[in-house]
């Protein structure tokens, strides 16, 4: 499944400072759909190069990270249970405090 993953607010530093990743993620064995839960595990294994604790806590993202699926907060689509479709755009962004 073709997905665009974007990292911002400093999270790109965890993946070689690259903000936009065009990726191909296979469906997990014996599953019919790809969920955010699976994608997070995939991102942690395949894209995060350092300090994974700055990206995840337990099986979800760490506090202060917003997850957007097609420009919409994943809280509105079921968080970890959100089902992804081909060509979806998923954004992971860390909230900023500077001024």
């Amino acid at each position: 499944m073709q997905l665009t993953l974007e990292f911002g607010g400093g999270l790109e530093l965890l993946c070689d400072s690259v903000k936009i990743h065009s990726v191909n993620v296979d469906l997990p064995a014996e599953e019919k759909k790809l969920t955010m839960k699976h994608l997070l595990a995939w991102v942690r294994s395949n894209l995060i190069k350092e300090r994974p604790e700055m990206f995840m806590k337990g099986d979800t993202v760490r506090p202060g990270v917003l997850v957007l699926v097609n420009d919409c907060d994943w809280e509105l689509s079921g968080q970890l249970e959100t089902t992804l479709e081909d060509k979806d755009v998923v954004v992971f962004i860390s909230t900023l405090h500077g001024g």
């Binding site: 911002g8 607010g9 400093g10 903000k19 604790e53 700055m54 760490r62 506090p63 202060g64 990270v65 917003l66 957007l68 420009d71 919409c72 907060d73 809280e75 509105l76 954004v91 962004i93 860390s94 909230t95 900023l96 405090h97 500077g98 001024g99």
Partner: protein, 287 residues
Amino acid sequence: GSESGHDLTPDMIYRYSRQLLLPSFGVQGQSNLLKSSILVIGAGGLGSPALLYLAACGVGRLGMVDHDVVELNNLHRQIIHGEAYIGRSKVESAAAACRSINSTIEIVEHKEALRTSNALEIVSKYDIVIDATDNAPSRYMISDCCVLLGKPLVSGAALGLEGQLAVYNYNGGPCYRCLFPTPPPTTACQRCSDSGVLGVVPGVIGCLQALEAIKVASLVGEPLSGRMLLFDALSARIRIVKIRGRSSLCEACGDNATVTHQKFQHFDYEKFTQSPLSAAPLKLKLL
């Protein structure tokens, strides 16, 4: 005068004529603005353009809070301050700049740090709050204070080459804690003073904060509530995304909220976020 259906003096009509001409803003929008009061917390990178545009456009009463003094390394982004004010209070400097562009509005100087001990009293005097601070504990404290007092909060942030903007606690929308119930780990909370920022990035976000406050004050347009603006200066990309609504489980604004006036005044936001309200001095080692 009252026989013409508005309260604008001939001087005001001339000064604000370009705004009065706007059909979707006009006399009503300007009158609402002149009757409103806005508090800007932080007279730094975000506060500089926000304060200048709010003073210029005719907000009736404009308050500013900051305890810092102007330093040379602020000037690359804090365009409200000039070299002549280095070493002097940021609030004094900002107030002088605002008065020089508009002597007809009321400008209120709060030369102190915003703390749980004075926040309720200061914020209660204004209709709308702009969070132009630079640290996590202030952001939680200001949001909680705005929820307790029922004030709309225009929250902006900028770091490096990115910026973020949202309007909280407005018209049934979420508060800052609805979005971020748990503070991020300390290592994720970088400040401009530690990590750097391109000067014009808070400039863009600060202008947009002034715009959102003007929309709320004048009752014109659709404020950025339930939405968030994400700005990436390097690639010149801006996303406006839909965020969650008010959370019934929110500690501050939910059905069983635990934040009360009483608790607020004794809450330790530095401990809660494990992060200080004031920045440590910069150690810059260049080559």
